[in-house]
Symmetry: C3
Subunit: 276 residues, 3 copies
């Protein structure tokens, strides 16, 4: 186990700069609600989004891309074969992939599709506590797409998923936890409650994880850097709009901060801890 | 007939607070253009959006939700069975449902699908004058998705729909009319012409009607409160950006006002009248 | 050949006013990522968007509309017959149509669908240099949806396409080139690099080309006016947010400027040249 306890603003900033410099192509099969916001988040970070879901072309595009992101938010049987093929192609081509199990546990069909997708061994999984619990086979208290379980309860489930499938697992919430199959565990303490009041903010975190994994070969560090970047962006955006700010200006300000973040601002705001 | 002539800022505010407190899950099968804005409007009001259209899971999600909203804006034969099942499930489970007949009259196919959906007896229907006229079987002067008939002409059609199908019908326009099957009729005189220049503002009204109906058992009152809230928000947002403001800032400001509206601002702006 | 070397701010403004006055209905079959932004751009310009893709109704809607726009960004086999029918119906009804070959060259399937769509003779084609090169059958250096070929290399390909299919071809980039089958060639030197960092800005240009072609019978002039309008809007929006502005505020400001542009601002900013 290569325990890297030196994750800090320098490593995060270095990965941010790699995204901006390399502008990786991120191929997303994501949900219909968040597509535009996710694409704008990727562009703000310096990555290059491509969204395509036709089974006739996803293998071509996955091979062309730096990473594949699959998000089942608006699940459609017509898209499932393309999601499977995109994950399989990424794996075969040695490209990182991310699975966002939106709404896991909310319907039997969703659970059935996820049970298949996880066996295709995405490099990374990012979800809230309920989703990670459900995906790991625990009974979760799911209310639609919002989590009602405390993050802590999901950590054992995340560790179990990470070990069973060899993937990095991120449990996001008021604190974000990033667990590696080898036991590494980072905790991030940034963000702001307003992030839950704009649609697509969580899904954009998953998209960013893909972008960072495309440029940083250690997927655990890539995930920590992506979540650190987005949490810091969310926190600074909330400060910038002030206590009376509304959610419209907050959504716009997230992209403003994401597209102009400096090393200094990151340094002053980041709270990351490697706990194992 | 329980004629409640006391609808006013207090009843509207009480329903707004119930949405914020109870955060009802609103399950929408809506059009591809407005999904993000509708989700953000629901979040701004304090509700919790879930958008899912797979026929394999809509019954599960409708039962989990506080209300179902069906909007045919980007109609797709692949989605129709899911729309039918969602409305039927909501009815069987005693959950309120809303039908937004976007573009009724614009194509033969749209009319045919609507003729089926309305027989599934949604609790509420919200459309512009042309759409309501078309849905009621009158010839309407439809230009795509915009209304070219004055609201007044549609009132008889709305009353006829309300009585035939036992649903609350809202005809929106410069004035919004809300008619109940028992003859109750409220008129709302808020809003701003800029609301017609941002995509999804009308569809978001329907989404909000679903959220309010999830927490307010009288669907007529729920519809009046939702339309009152959104009309007041639209009016205050226009004041806030001023006469030189453009539509980009207006869209963002709608969400700002929606997410921060106070009882006082509502009280000072609301113009509602129960005319029958 | 009717060489009109007098394209200038007056002709552009006249076409802008025609869009605002006539509010043409623009029927788009466009990609899932950009639908909302495209609709808002059309509304800001004064046009009336309708997005519908069901094969059962696209012919009805194409006949009802002033122009048809087909954009293959999120290509789906389920949509292709509707795209074909919409283009065919527009042609048969004498309505202008626009093809945006997003991501041409990125997959074999995309190329195969485009090879069919171009034979349906859209009135106008708008793409970046790589897309135009690919569509013309040249080998292009495509990186997903971003162009990596200089615009200049694509001009011969554009001229070849224009002559072979009798369509106006726009190659967009740092400079936009608009070529007619009869050899007319305009160059536009407006815009700003930030336009590439907001999703849907290019696709919105294609949507605007449709709106302008619906009111201006010369498709070459319509395309020049639409690209001029959008380039000027993009440039003024960048000035307004200043050098420290981010992409969230830029997206919103694009719509603000688009919805409030004056003849004077257009006159002071426009750089258009008819080179042939």
């Amino acid at each position: 186990v290569n325990r890297n306890s030196t994750l800090n603003a320098d490593t995060v900033w270095s990965d941010c700069c790699a995204v901006r410099t390399q502008a990786p192509l991120v191929h997303s099969l994501t949900n219909l609600v968040v597509m535009a916001f996710n694409a704008n988040t990727l562009l703000a970070a310096g990555a290059s989004p491509i969204m395509a879901h036709a089974v006739e072309e996803v293998a071509d595009l996955a091979r062309l891309s730096g990473a594949v992101v699959v998000n089942i938010g608006t699940l459609d049987a017509h898209w499932v074969p393309a999601m499977q093929l995109a994950l399989d192609t990424a794996r075969a081509a040695g490209k990182p992939s991310v699975l966002d199990p939106v709404g896991a546990g909310a319907s039997a069909y969703r659970n059935q599709v996820l049970a298949d997708l996880i066996t295709r061994r995405p490099t990374l999984v990012r979800g809230n506590a309920s989703e990670i619990l459900s995906l790991a086979g625990h009974s979760a208290n799911t209310k639609g797409v919002d989590s009602t379980d405390p993050v802590e309860l999901a950590l054992a489930a995340a560790q179990s998923l990470a070990q069973r499938y060899g993937c990095v697992v991120c449990v996001s919430g008021p604190e974000d936890h990033v667990l590696a199959p080898d036991g590494r565990h980072a905790v991030l303490r940034n963000g702001h409650p307003l992030m839950t009041r704009v649609t697509g903010v969580g899904c954009s975190a998953s998209a960013l994880v893909g972008a960072f994994a495309a440029v940083q070969p250690d997927p655990w560090r890539a995930c920590v850097s992506a979540m650190a970047y987005w949490g810091v962006v969310g926190e600074i955006a909330a400060q910038r709009i002030g206590p009376d700010g509304g959610t419209g200006r907050y959504a716009s300000t997230l992209l403003d901060v994401a597209s102009t973040l400096s090393a200094t601002a990151l340094q002053q705001t980041l709270r990351v801890e490697v706990v194992a």
